[in-house]
């Protein structure tokens, strides 16, 4: 079947989509957007987290056809051409990236958290990121990155230490 949806603000058309495949497969294998990672394929790990009509979801659990006409936002859409998004920069600066496989999903989930809640408490962060597994960092550096990103996004002009 043919699928048409808007990804990171651009309308995309893909043909020969199998009816049983996931939005994640479409993004990675048919649209050339491999940022969203494919790990568990059962909604346990969060590595494929994308926005679907503004809500973070696991792309592996969205049937391709369910995305017809919808707005999809992936990790590739966070940065602008000149610079990384403050969430991405904070993950780098805080050392929250090791092997990097979970990072795209965590970036999208963190972007959603800070967009909704501004400066989340640590408890709110743990709850919001509970669906994103990281096997490298032990999460402490990720919590550092969330605090750093939230601070910078709250005071964009004061972030002079980049």
């Amino acid at each position: 079947m043919r699928l048409t949806c808007t990804v990171n603000g651009t309308e995309q058309h893909v043909d020969d989509v199998w009816e049983g495949e996931s939005l994640l497969y479409v993004l990675r294998e048919r649209m050339g957007l491999p940022g969203s990672k494919n790990a568990c394929e059962q909604g346990e790990c969060g590595s494929c987290t994308v926005y679907l009509d503004g809500l973070p979801v696991c792309a592996c659990l969205v049937a391709a056809g369910q995305a017809e006409g919808r707005q999809v936002g992936t990790v590739e859409g966070l940065a602008d051409p000149e610079s990384l998004h403050p969430v991405q920069q904070a993950f780098l600066d805080a050392g929250a990236v090791q092997c990097g496989f979970c990072t795209p999903g965590l970036l999208v989930a963190t972007h959603d958290l800070i967009t909704r809640q501004g400066r989340p408490s640590d408890a709110e962060t743990r709850e919001a990121l509970a669906g994103n597994l990281c096997r490298c960092t032990g999460y402490e550096k990720i919590l550092d990155a969330v605090r750093l990103a939230a601070d910078r996004m709250a005071e964009p002009t004061a972030g002079g230490d980049r």
């Binding site: 079947m1 199998w18 009816e19 049983g20 495949e21 996931s22 394929e41 059962q42 909604g43 346990e44 969060g46 987290t49 809500l55 973070p56 979801v57 696991c58 592996c60 659990l61 969205v62 049937a63 056809g65 369910q66 017809e68 989930a109 709850e127 919001a128 509970a130 669906g131 994103n132 597994l133």
Partner: protein
């Protein structure tokens, strides 16, 4: 594989009547796992996410009519005061990503004994509104679960909504797993106090072939509250009453040993969760009187 995408409820029912083998998909949190792992290869998927009616909820006749496609996230954010037990259960489900997609109706359609919504629905009292091209019927929640991952629906039927009575007293929910987040229940327990009809509702999850109530525990506790005038006095519950309630809840379970836990552990956990849930709910009941005074 065909991908059927009805735009209206009438079209959805027509499609299901024409293709009873079509697998309905809404949040996809169960169906897509089956597809991704090759366990599920249906001839047709029936996508219900375009049917706007299914995303609504209303309050009528003392109950919430919860449309089949309302997500757990919305149960939590929009219905926490009207469906307290179900909202508590919803908070324990998966992750934010899962709660943004998964639905109570999907939990019912899958009918896993470990589904987190079931104990809350059993305790609160619920009815499942199912429909087909032939008409609509209401299945009481006690009659809905017929076996492991089996329910009382016919092949041409779809879930339209779940009707859950508004609370007249406190509700509580307790779930135990191997960790707090992203976990399938090893055992779960839902409790609702119904002071309006001087009754108690319970629901047990992950500890029998189907979700089930603990009728002996309900009758025992309602009897104690009645005979000791506790509904009116709101005095402290005797320890012996709390302990006996826990024993009777555990006795209603029929669990198995599996990878998540032993039957013995599940029975023990249920007695503990039942005691805790009752202690919390009774404290809420006593507090609500103080606040009202």
């Amino acid at each position: 594989m065909d991908f059927l995408q009805p735009a209206t409820w009438a079209e959805a029912l027509e499609a299901k009547a024409a293709h009873p083998d079509a697998v309905p998909i809404a949040g996809g949190t169960d169906v897509m796992v089956g597809l991704n792992f090759g366990h599920l290869r249906p001839a047709r998927l029936l996508d219900l996410t375009r049917v706007a009616d299914l995303r609504d909820w209303q309050v009528a006749d003392g109950a919430v009519r919860l449309g089949a496609a309302v997500s757990y996230a919305r149960v939590i954010s929009e219905l926490g005061d009207r469906l307290p037990g179900l909202a508590m259960a919803s908070r324990t489900i998966g992750s934010p990503q899962i709660r943004n997609r998964g639905t109570v109706a999907g939990n019912l359609a899958t009918a896993s004994p470990a589904g987190d919504a079931h104990p809350a629905l059993l305790a609160a009292g619920a009815g499942v509104e199912v429909a087909s091209a032939r008409g609509t019927r209401r299945i009481p929640i006690d009659d809905f679960y017929t076996g492991v991952k089996r329910n009382a629906m016919d092949d041409d039927e779809l879930i339209a909504a779940v009707h859950v009575a508004l609370p007249s007293g406190p509700q509580q929910y307790s779930k135990i797993g191997t960790r707090n987040a992203m976990v399938i229940a090893v055992a779960a327990f839902g409790l609702a106090l119904h002071p309006d009809r001087r009754a108690v509702g319970t629901g047990i999850g992950s500890a029998a072939p189907t979700p089930r109530r603990a009728p002996a525990a309900e009758e025992f506790l309602a009897g104690e509250l009645d005979s000791s005038g506790l509904w009116e006095s709101r005095a402290e519950l005797p320890e012996a009453t709390i302990a006996r309630f826990g024993e009777l809840v555990a006795a209603a379970a029929a669990p198995i040993d599996d990878v998540r836990g032993s039957a013995r552990y599940r029975v023990h956990a249920l007695s503990v969760m039942a005691r805790r849930a009752l202690t919390w709910a009774w404290a809420d009941y006593r507090n609500s009187a103080n606040q009202g005074a």
